[in-house]
Symmetry: C2
Subunit: 300 residues, 2 copies
């Protein structure tokens, strides 16, 4: 059922990579270290999951790919800036990202901080000027409002803060609130971008996209908890006592597997609203579901 | 001649402070430490010079105050985020700002980094949603494009990078290019914002505003060099060898005084394009000119 989108995945990744390459300043333009760091942070690779979600959601509501090239690139810029800042010594102090030394290790902390700031500023320039939205200022403003709310203190950045100071004993609702903000913010931006471009999208489809993006974002983060579990157990020190524990650490592997199955069910239910155009979303639900099987097998 | 604007200064400061207070999330909203840090960074005070420039430019081209409340607040948010990030230990490692401990000293480095990111994200939400621009999506998009270009890697952030790695022996053109980007970026955004709101502004007035903002930004930064001169001489260490010297340190006090006089002349020339509406701009030129007299007296 999702073969169609699996074939399209490389095509969508190529689309967004081309859009990103075109919107980033050339490395030869002064200041070169800053522009080199920005390009490295974005173009060193990645699954492009958020852009894929954006293209899949567009297909589900009948918006052509080229109409979401700008938000697909913008959501990836937001993701990449957040990684550069998260990796800084004053945050997670990570040494490697996508198999290479982190941006601050290559270009220095000051340039890494500035590269993140410049990427976060480029987001809005792309949404305000990308030629694919020429003459569509209402769509541009709707996208900018959506993206700013999803990325700011009520979204991703707020979720990062909750992660830092959420305390050691949150309940499930508090944990999921933090996950929805921190990880879910950009998933929400990606999945709702096509509705900004096509405001006449029927409300039942809009709501189905929202449910899908919400479940995918939460499932993606809980799935990541399993991967990070061992590293977390080793890295946790007294200094981290204010930090939020992971869903898995707090509520247990069995409960996490059950919650993931529930969330995959919610994604499949949401896909029921879409016809053949929903194949991309079904592929994404399947991608999470397969990870879930791996986790279930490992736990068995 | 400029009494009118001097009386209006407190009124404009009150306008922008009210707009800032209204657009910042309440400190009681979760995550509280982040929202408290954001409010502290913006509302602890400041001359509001960039908003004053925005209101003065609006008056000069006949745009009512309320039509530039959004860009006046947005340019100050950009200024405040840049101060929070500049003060971080990995940048200037400053301990005090506006007479109080810097944001990272009060709230921690992680929350300071995130507060800067959240303020930089709020800028675009304000421009996209502020009620004073209701129904004016063309103006919103024009403002967002202008502000992103002035604040990003071709503007303020790029200028910061040039400041860090500009090398010890730039010529005057290289120095002024860096100053125009780093400090001039936000002055340009402030002075041209009224033209985005009123695109039918005659091109001679637009060009006069550009010349005025350019000269004011450069003069403001050179004037600051005099204030910072002693501190710089003490703080300069081997680690700073890649940093750009100040205009005054590189080209001398006498040349700096002459350049400032030239720039004040350029501001006065630009004001010649405006009638009585230009009084606010004349007041700002006078503000710089008075500082210049102080410097000349000190040097005499």
């Amino acid at each position: 059922m999702s073969d169609h989108f699996e074939q399209r995945r490389a095509e969508c990744q190529a689309r967004v990579n081309a859009a990103l390459d075109a919107c980033l300043p050339a490395a030869e333009i002064i200041p070169r270290p800053l522009h080199t760091a920005m390009r490295d942070a974005v173009l060193r690779g990645g699954k492009r999951l958020r852009p894929l979600l954006c293209y899949a959601a567009a297909e589900a509501v009948g918006v052509p790919d080229e109409r979401v090239d700008a938000p697909a690139a913008a959501v990836e810029l937001l993701h990449c800036y957040s990684l550069v800042h998260d990796d800084l010594p004053c945050m997670d102090d990570d040494e490697f990202r996508r198999g290479l030394p982190t941006i601050h290790r290559i270009y220095g902390e000051e340039t890494a901080l500035l590269a993140g700031d410049a990427l976060l500023t480029l987001v809005w320039e792309v949404l305000a000027t990308h030629p694919s939205l020429s003459g569509r200022n209402d769509a541009r403003v709707a996208l900018i409002e959506l993206f700013a709310q999803c990325a700011g203190s009520a979204g991703m950045v707020g979720g990062q803060e909750l992660d830092l100071h959420g305390g050691p004993a949150p309940d499930q609702a508090e944990l999921e609130h933090a996950y929805r903000a921190k990880t879910g913010g950009l998933f929400r931006a990606a999945v709702l971008a096509p509705v900004c471009v096509q405001p006449e999208t029927p409300s039942n489809l809009r709501h189905a996209l929202e449910r899908f993006g919400d479940a995918l974002g939460l499932a993606f983060q809980i799935r990541d908890d399993f991967k990070d579990k061992e590293a977390d157990a080793q890295a946790q020190t007294a200094d981290d006592s204010a930090r939020l524990p992971s869903w898995v650490a707090r509520l247990g592997e069995e409960a996490a597997r059950e919650r993931l199955a529930e969330l995959v069910g919610a994604m499949q239910e949401a896909c029921g609203e879409f016809g053949a155009g929903g194949d991309g979303l079904r592929w994404l639900a399947g991608f999470i579901n397969e990870s879930l099987s791996g986790i279930a097998a490992a736990g068995a």
